[in-house]
Symmetry: C2
């Protein structure tokens, strides 16, 4: 997957970077479910194949959306964390959540977060801020 841009439209370029089946899903899982290891991602409900996951993590790191580090007490497990650039995708992910919640009706998700999305919609800005803040607090607690 080349990092080339089709044209100089910022919307199209954003899609060139993040508009594939997996990149935003990985970022979402980092953000909302606190996933941070290869194992975490590969066990997510989306069932990403490990070769795809590996290539996506590499690309996300190369493009500055995530960092890859090893914790002090473990030489094996890699910890992937969102950078500021990665966190700057939150507004896009929030809009996808609102849209998906309003427009996709999956039988088995009737019991899911009803009304939650309405709350987000009413104070989107502070929801985004809080999500970013709480992610940052969580990763501070790791080191």
């Amino acid at each position: 997957m080349s990092a080339e841009f089709r044209c100089n439209c910022p919307i199209t370029s954003a899609i060139d970077l993040m508009g594939d089946k997996w990149s935003l899903v990985v970022v979402k899982n980092m953000l909302l479910y606190n996933q941070k290891t290869f194992k975490d991602f590969s066990e997510a409900s989306e069932n990403i194949a490990t070769n795809i996951l590996s290539s996506r993590l590499k690309r996300l790191e190369q493009n500055g959306f995530i960092t890859k580090t090893k914790p002090l007490n473990n030489k094996k497990t890699n910890i992937y964390l969102l950078t500021e650039k990665g966190l700057s995708l939150i507004p896009i992910i929030v809009e996808l959540a609102i849209w998906g919640d309003a427009n996709i009706h999956i039988p088995s998700s009737q019991e899911a977060e009803n009304g939650q999305i309405a709350v987000i919609n009413n104070d989107k800005e502070s929801f985004i801020k809080n999500l970013k803040k709480s992610y940052k607090e969580k990763i501070e607690a790791i080191d």
Copy 2:
């Protein structure tokens, strides 16, 4: 491309529907550049192949994002228009625009809309409303 959903996460499902390289690009070109015919889309700066365009238009129509009609005075040209469901994607496209504008630096687009995005950001809600309204007014003028 099947319309199946990987899991019951609304974000992932939104990506299942619109998270490919072309669907949102076509919608964007309808919305911002008033494109509405096969020819319009195939001549856009993204250079979509006609077979891909054909399959994307079919899928967008099947999923209720666009309609396909023939104008009264022309038996040949098809007119593709965004439905309400298609227009409901505007907030996502706006966030992609803001993100792309802030994060992607393409050499040849230095002269592009500087400051415009800041304006959008300051009153996002009314920008979205106006974009929707102006699209609807334009398509009224067609019939």
